[in-house]
């Protein structure tokens, strides 16, 4: 079971990282934000899978921390875009 969860974690990570191509290609800043958002939720999924596979409770705390931080960074990004890229 642990092995299965780890393979799933690798799949999620790989797929999310392919999505990062959008950070480079854009074409809009909105697309780039989406890719980062996807990396955020993908990393959380990977951490939760790791936590379950290894029975490591600390990984869940790290996942919660990432969830807060990703939300925080996305908001800052949105506000920064509104101020900066507008002109």
């Amino acid at each position: 079971m642990a092995e299965f969860l780890l393979v799933m974690a690798a799949c999620v990570l790989l797929s999310v990282l392919c999505g990062l191509a959008r950070v480079l290609r854009g074409p809009k800043d909105a697309d780039r934000m989406m890719a980062v958002q996807l990396v955020g939720s993908g990393s959380i999924a990977v951490l939760l899978l790791l936590a379950s596979a290894f029975g490591d409770a600390a990984a869940v705390d790290v996942a919660l921390c990432l969830a807060l931080v990703a939300a925080f960074a996305s908001v800052a990004f949105a506000l920064g875009l509104r101020q900066g890229a507008g002109e």
Partner: protein, 312 residues
């Protein structure tokens, strides 16, 4: 454990790729987007290295707060028209130099002595005396407390340095640019809903830090992130920098830490030594004060220097 190797392989390829993306992107915003993703992935790497304490710090400080600081600066900085990129000889030379550094480090990593030198057994042996369960907290607050003290002082000095940039008339005013109150419903709602959860989680991290991964830095930086979020949404204003309460909050942690350290001369064996019976309560007290001071200092480091003339 082929599954674990698969995961490691993906991470090992992805992190340099995203660093490269951040370096090579033409505009600054995509570079910053890649940097935030880099911070998130490094947190995963730290988990794989068996260091959840560092993973928490890297996620909160390295990815989150640093990313937000840089995004805020990018929004305010007028980027100069792109200068002509340096010619290819210079680029080639730099690339060779960097390749050399990487190669040197790689050789050093591969040639590390076996068995690896470690202080883990000593830490394990002494940890019982601190009554803590988390070895990293033991190192931070007992065995190498002087490092942590100096590091807390560095934060205070950085705050003073940034305040020192205030223009003549603005000294004593509120730091940072005015954030317009968001009319936008969804983000304002998030800025109101997230901080209560984040504050509980930040205090939780600081509290469990004695026995589980977490601690003053991790908890403090989550608390700071929540205040910064509310500030960005225009829900709160930073206090004036001549406010005595604010200044006391910034120095409370390091000052208490130093006092405890000095008290060690009288009641224990020397500087930064804790009396045996009181070790854990003293450490928890210091950690609580440090959490508060670190949170306030991080907020002030992101907010910046006072810009507008202070009204007397």
């Amino acid at each position: 454990m082929s599954g674990a190797w698969l995961l490691d392989g993906v991470l090992l390829l992805a992190v340099p790729a995203i660093a490269l993306a951040s370096l090579l992107s033409r505009r600054v915003l995509p570079a910053l987007a890649a940097f935030v993703a880099y911070g998130l992935l490094l947190a995963l790497v730290w988990m794989r290295l068996g260091a959840p304490d560092v993973a928490l710090t890297e996620a909160a400080v390295g990815g989150g707060v640093t990313g937000v600081l840089l995004i805020g600066a990018a929004a305010r900085l007028l980027m100069p028209a792109a200068a002509a990129p340096p010619g290819w000889p210079l680029r080639l030379l730099t690339a060779l130099l960097c390749l050399g550094v990487t190669a040197g480090l790689a050789v050093a990593v591969l040639a590390l002595p076996e068995p690896a030198p470690t202080l883990a057994p000593q830490a394990a042996e002494q940890l019982a005396a601190t009554q803590l369960g988390n070895p990293v907290a033991g190192v931070l607050l007992a065995f190498r407390a002087i490092d942590t003290l100096l590091e807390a002082v560095v934060l205070v000095i950085a705050v003073i340095g940034i305040w020192g940039m205030a223009p003549d008339g603005a000294w004593g005013g509120r730091p940072g640019p005015v954030q317009p109150r968001l009319a936008d419903g969804s983000v304002a709602l998030l800025a109101m809903l997230l901080p209560p959860v984040g504050i509980v989680f930040g205090i939780y991290l600081a509290w469990v830090g004695a026995d589980a991964p977490g601690g003053a830095f991790q908890g403090g930086s989550i608390l700071a992130a929540m205040w910064i979020l509310a500030w960005l949404a225009g829900l709160v204003r930073p206090p004036r920098i001549d406010s005595l309460a604010l200044r006391l909050l910034v120095v409370a942690g390091p000052a208490l830490f130093m006092l405890v350290g000095l008290a060690g001369f009288v009641v224990a064996d020397g500087f930064m030594a804790y009396p045996a019976a009181w070790t854990k309560p003293v450490i928890l007290l210091v950690e609580a004060a440090l959490t508060l001071s670190i949170a306030v200092a991080l907020c002030l480091l992101v907010a910046g220097w006072p810009m507008r003339r202070a009204r007397a």
